[in-house]
């Protein structure tokens, strides 16, 4: 029967479902379908995980072997020199700071604005509420395209400016919808009671709405942070100064020109007394893969922790919105 009940009411329903299962006999077609489903899903899951796994084992294998593409299932001759060497690449540290900075600042601004606007759009006495709400939402569906966007940003002097990373993302319609839907689903009496006790709109927002909206705000924060971390297009269009390059942009450049980088790193190492052996000597492949892992690592680390959380959060927004 329906699986979903088992999730909502774990004990009672799950029990009855199990009972029913024993009393039913699966037909041959059902069994066949099951086998097909399990196989297909396993294959797809493998395709989703294997690229990450293979790059990780390649970065810790001997570089001369991995450069030939010979590390397939298990790492060979494990070493961690790649991670030490890659941090010697000039510019990578700055890019990491830019990426980190925009993620932290951009996310805080986006979450704050989404929370406040989402809350305001639920207040019926807000001035011009319907108009402003539509005004915000309409930008989700209609935009003029990247070139008009670029020209606007240029005329606002946001080229080669750190603000270009954090300002345009502040009002994010989708997040506002999520928060608005969530606030609407909370009991109105809570706000009314506070209002009777003399709470103004700001007290209402900070003392009542913010604390109860934590789940949805966490979801928004995760999405915003991932967006900020992954963002590539704004650097590509707006930034020419290398001190403002983000990690994603640096990685893209490395994929295209990693051979010169590996020469540089090897030269730097050759200057020291220990000669790099063939296994730890940097190759095009090793540099590219190591930087990839460094860029993807934050996502891989936070993803398992927050996965269940944001799936729930998006469902809140999806079902009712």
């Amino acid at each position: 029967m329906s699986d979903k009940m088992a999730e909502v009411v774990p004990n009672a329903v799950h029990q009855s479902r199990m009972d029913k299962k024993t009393s039913f006999k699966l037909s041959t077609t059902d069994k066949f379908i099951s086998v097909v489903i399990y196989t297909l899903f396993s294959l797809f899951a493998f395709a989703c995980v294997y690229p990450f796994y293979s790059i990780i084992i390649n970065t810790i294998s001997a570089n001369d072997i991995s450069a030939r593409g010979d590390v397939v299932f298990f790492p060979k001759h494990i070493h961690f020199q790649n991670y030490v060497d890659v941090f010697k690449i000039p510019g990578l540290g700055t890019a990491a700071m830019v990426s980190l900075g925009r993620t932290v600042i951009g996310t805080s601004l986006t979450v704050g604005a989404s929370a406040f606007l989402g809350f305001m759009f639920t207040q019926e006495d807000m001035w011009g509420r319907k108009f402003w709400y539509r005004f915000t939402i309409i930008t989700m569906f209609f935009n003029a395209g990247i070139i008009p966007w670029y020209l606007t940003m240029r005329s606002l002097h946001l080229t080669n400016n750190f603000l270009a990373y954090v300002l345009p993302t502040i009002v994010a319609p989708f997040f506002i919808i999520l928060v608005k839907t969530f606030v609407e689903s909370t009991p109105k009496e809570l706000q009314q009671a506070a209002g009777i006790d003399g709470a103004g709109i700001m007290t209402l927002f900070f003392k009542i709405i913010l604390p109860i909206s934590k789940p949805i705000l966490a979801t928004v924060a995760i999405f915003a942070a991932v967006d900020q971390w992954n963002s590539f297009q704004d650097t590509l269009l707006l930034v020419t100064e290398s001190k403002l390059y983000s990690l994603q942009f640096i990685l893209y450049n490395y994929i295209n020109q990693a051979s010169s980088l590996s020469t540089m790193v090897n030269l730097q190492n050759a200057g020291s007394t220990t000669m790099a052996s063939l296994a730890t000597k940097q190759t095009t492949t090793s540099i590219r893969m190591t930087v990839t892992i460094i860029v993807v690592a934050p996502i891989l680390l936070i993803y398992p922790i927050f996965q269940r959380f944001f799936v729930k959060g998006i469902m809140i927004g999806a079902v009712k919105g």
Binding site: D3, F44, G69, A144, I146, F232
Partner: protein, 243 residues
């Protein structure tokens, strides 16, 4: 621009690419729904959770990272070529990424790889919302699993599907820039340039801002028209609309 035959041919090719790749995505837009239906059919809770977790992961990495993974797997010294060599299947490396023959298909595959698990979440939410009495009624009537799917689950999902389909049709011309930008190279340039990428290359490479802006604006206009047409059509055929 209009009087230049070469540019017209180029633009036609770009439109063809846009239609081809958006068309492929539209053609397989039911995949997330089927994915969700069969995923919820899996009885082993742990396995199901594992699959769901793992398949949504690619959605959270950028196209640059996808390209980096693709490069590591499929370039001439990549892992797939290494595997093929070890198995003795090829002498010279297969150049997957420089191939211009199946670009539409490979781009569709990458999109699907990245987005399938994530798009399914919405449908999973819809399945969770199905009234339990429907399942029970189907069971009392002696329905098999496939019959339950066909007569209970599928009809409940179609409204969600149609709404998403309409939005997808409205953004038919907006393929986005990043994916095609990172995957483009000298070999596949002709068959990978969609309108968004073309507009970018035109403006940033050639400095023709006015033409680019004109194309982008036209594109938005067509999107609006498309949205209202499908909306009207759906109102006429199904009595429901989104706008």
């Amino acid at each position: 621009m209009v009087e230049n035959q070469v540019k017209i041919d180029q633009l036609l090719q770009v439109i063809k690419n846009t239609f081809g790749m958006s068309g492929l995505n539209l053609l397989f837009s039911w995949l997330p729904m089927v994915f969700a239906i069969f995923l919820t059919e899996i009885k082993a809770v742990r396995f199901r959770k594992f699959i769901q977790t793992v398949t949504t992961l690619p959605n959270f990495i950028s196209w640059v990272l996808v390209y980096s993974l693709a490069f590591s797997m499929f370039s001439s010294e990549g892992i797939v070529n290494g595997m093929l060599r070890q198995l003795g299947m090829t002498d010279s490396p297969v150049l997957f990424l420089q191939n211009s023959d199946h670009v539409w298909l490979t781009m569709w595959l990458w999109t699907t790889w990245k987005a399938l698990g994530w798009s399914a979440i919405l449908y999973i939410a819809a399945i969770m919302g199905i009234d339990d009495s429907l399942y029970e009624a189907a069971h009392v009537d002696g329905a098999t699993r496939m019959q339950v799917i066909r007569h209970v689950v599928l009809p409940s999902m179609l409204p969600t599907y149609f709404v998403l389909l309409m939005l997808q049709i409205a953004s038919f011309l907006n393929n986005g820039l990043e994916q095609y930008f990172v995957f483009q190279n000298a070999f596949n340039k002709d068959s990978i340039q969609v309108l968004d990428l073309y507009v970018y290359n035109l403006a940033m490479g050639g400095g023709s801002y006015s033409v680019s802006v004109a194309i982008s604006m036209l594109k938005s206009l067509i999107s609006v028209v498309l949205l209202f047409s499908v909306n009207g059509l759906s109102k006429m055929l199904r009595g429901e609309s989104i706008v």
